[in-house]
Symmetry: C2
Subunit: 400 residues, 2 copies
């Protein structure tokens, strides 16, 4: 039997993979498991998108252009412009999810062996994309005590070496929900400019900003237009995770021309899904207003609830639909497993994602877990109560 590639061995497993069998066993044992571990929203996909799928009038399900349908790119560009984000049709390559946009983007920008700096905790699949492109992830730790704000810029700059090719941020952030301020992004701009790096900005949660906070796009940082690469996706915006439609966006024409060659090799993004994504652009503002109001209510239930449990600390994020909480336990992964394996309260328990998997630094975030508040409010209340009771019973509880 031929041996596998070292990349195949290096590819990381999902932070929750070890817990999945315990969750399945819990369900088999009749427990209700509140899934706070995944970013699959329960929000309905906009009617316009579903209608476009139902009304598909193609007789032949053909390839689209490798960069995506021109009509979709045009309409998408206009939608950015309406939000004050200066994107032209030719700045856009439609991809199969934000994932493919990052893979193509990293392969276009970075040679194997290059380093990419990422504030941690970060979306765990960035590790997988880095392995695919042969890159080394250099983390800079953001701290829960600071609400996961951007680490001091000097701490980032000190990590830059001749091998550093890019900085990757997610804004608003998965897993933290932290929304970078314009000032934080302008600090990043200074070192990006000074060291001539690429700045990859995963902005797929842009529509999910709360308490009047306004997202500031990296595409609006003037002076580093040739360095900024924006990653986008319809997955969260329109609750269309299964459509697998994303976008790679940059003003750097040489970069976009090279990225298109990766796009041509895989022929095209899916056709029906692009048609649905194009139709989704007609979604009225009140859809988002309602969704945002719902997430604010959910966040408040979850975060306020967590902070009301003795020993738990959870900063209140301004964006996305995640939060990271610190628990009074030595090992959050063990706590998460115990919740599934040993615990139940009125037949219910909770599944969370241990946060250690979102850090590249070993042993970081050992007391933390990521919570996605993607369930309805009643279930979130029950989940908080489960956690409250669990922490009264958990044998591995610490005093801090």
């Amino acid at each position: 039997m031929p041996s596998l590639a070292s990349k195949a061995v290096q590819m990381p497993a999902s932070p929750i993979r070890k817990l999945v069998p315990y969750a399945e066993a819990a369900k088999k044992a009749g427990k209700t498991v509140y899934h706070l571990n995944i970013g699959q929203p329960d929000i309905e996909t906009p009617a316009a998108a579903l209608e476009a799928i139902h009304q598909l009038d193609h007789k032949v399900l053909e390839y689209s252009h490798s960069a995506g349908f021109e009509s979709y790119r045009q309409k998408l560009a206009r939608s950015y412009q309406n939000q004050g984000i200066p994107v032209l049709t030719e700045d856009i390559l439609i991809t199969t999810g934000g994932s493919e946009a990052l893979i193509f983007g990293l392969m276009t920008a970075c040679n194997p062996g290059d380093e990419v700096i990422i504030p941690e905790p970060f979306y765990a699949n960035y590790n997988g994309f880095a392995v695919m492109a042969g890159l080394h992830v250099v983390p800079v730790t953001a701290h829960i005590e600071d609400g996961f704000a951007l680490p001091p810029i000097a701490q980032i700059e000190v990590k830059i070496t001749p091998k550093t090719k890019a900085i990757i941020i997610c804004n608003p952030g998965n897993p933290t929900g932290y929304l970078y301020t314009q000032q934080e992004l302008e600090q990043l701009q200074l070192i990006v400019q000074k060291h001539d790096l690429f700045l990859f900005a995963d902005e797929v949660y842009r529509e999910f900003c709360y308490d009047g906070a306004k997202p500031f796009s990296t595409m609006n940082l003037s002076g580093i237009e040739q360095n900024v690469v924006m990653i986008d996706s319809v997955s969260k915006r329109y609750s269309m995770c299964g459509a697998r439609i994303g976008a790679l966006i940059s003003k750097n024409k040489e970069f976009m021309a090279a990225a298109l060659k990766f796009g041509q090799a895989r022929l095209s993004p899916p056709t029906v899904d692009q048609i649905a994504a194009e139709a989704a652009l007609d979604t009225p503002q009140n859809y988002f207003d309602e969704v945002v109001a719902e997430y604010v209510a959910r966040r408040n239930i979850m975060v306020d609830g967590l902070n009301s449990i003795p020993g738990v600390f959870c900063p209140k994020p301004s964006g996305a639909f995640y939060c990271v909480a610190k628990f009074p336990v030595q090992n959050a992964e063990h706590f998460c497993q115990w919740l599934l394996e040993e615990f139940s309260y009125e037949g219910q328990t909770v599944m969370m994602a241990p946060a250690n998997g979102f850090y590249a630094s070993p042993d970081a975030g050992m007391q933390e877990a990521r919570i996605a508040y993607v369930l309805d409010q009643a279930h979130l209340r029950s989940a908080v109560e489960c956690l409250r009771v669990a922490l009264e019973q958990y044998p591995g509880k610490t005093n801090s």
Copy 2:
């Protein structure tokens, strides 16, 4: 402006990219251009697949499992079994097109710097996938005079070095249409076994076999079950190129477990398209009978027509919907450009793909072009007549 990665520079352009502006100019000038250059069939997608799209009853377009829907994998496995191909549900990873299956497969099997042997001419995008995985393509030339049969096995074996990790075949072949015999595949089996290589078999044209020829799947080669990786796709089978649903298939459990980690990093293949692909499995046999009869008629018009033109030679393939013809010209790319730029016959001309782009050996296939017979019979007859008249007028004609 930061420099791009060397991979971005190495990524090959499509073999027809240079011709596209000439085709556009020809159309602008009012010429009818017969597109024999692309593998986008005009055959209608099966009604069952389109109906499944129209009837989609999801309220939320969610992710599927990273390996694809279980129900789809089960039904797909049964469909292979019904064809005598021993595939189990757990041998299948559903991918975003056959393209993603090859990318994941190569990254799972091969380290950067490894070599993959491919009989040429071959599907040009294999070059792009090899660049993405950092691999060196080592071609072994198949010759038009032999109808593009597998080169003598000794010529393949002599290319094997300690860096060789895999052999890639496409059967039936794009661009040649050649269908490997069981005997040819058994010869490959011997060297795969002897040198413990992976054998990647792109079998996406399996349903397109003519004149009573039966495809023999590499999954039926006994003794190398741990080495064989089959690539499949619904694109051509059901004329669903735009669905982007493929599959990576192997009995090698370690390989499949590692490939799934690449699948998990990109989350899932598209949901609606999988539902359509699953429904397409109910397509009745008479759909394929009609499609095959149509392609046989088209192939005969095209290949017999080409061979009736003085100086043109085109072996008659038993599979897929391509053929490669040798023209009495010094440079087929120039001839293809001239057809678009300078020539017309009754307001019509032809676009073909110069075959040089399907060879990795420099200067190979300079007199050849690939023709996809994906147009209706009347248009194919007109296209042949265009080529006949063109070769009477073309100034770069040779005597051979």
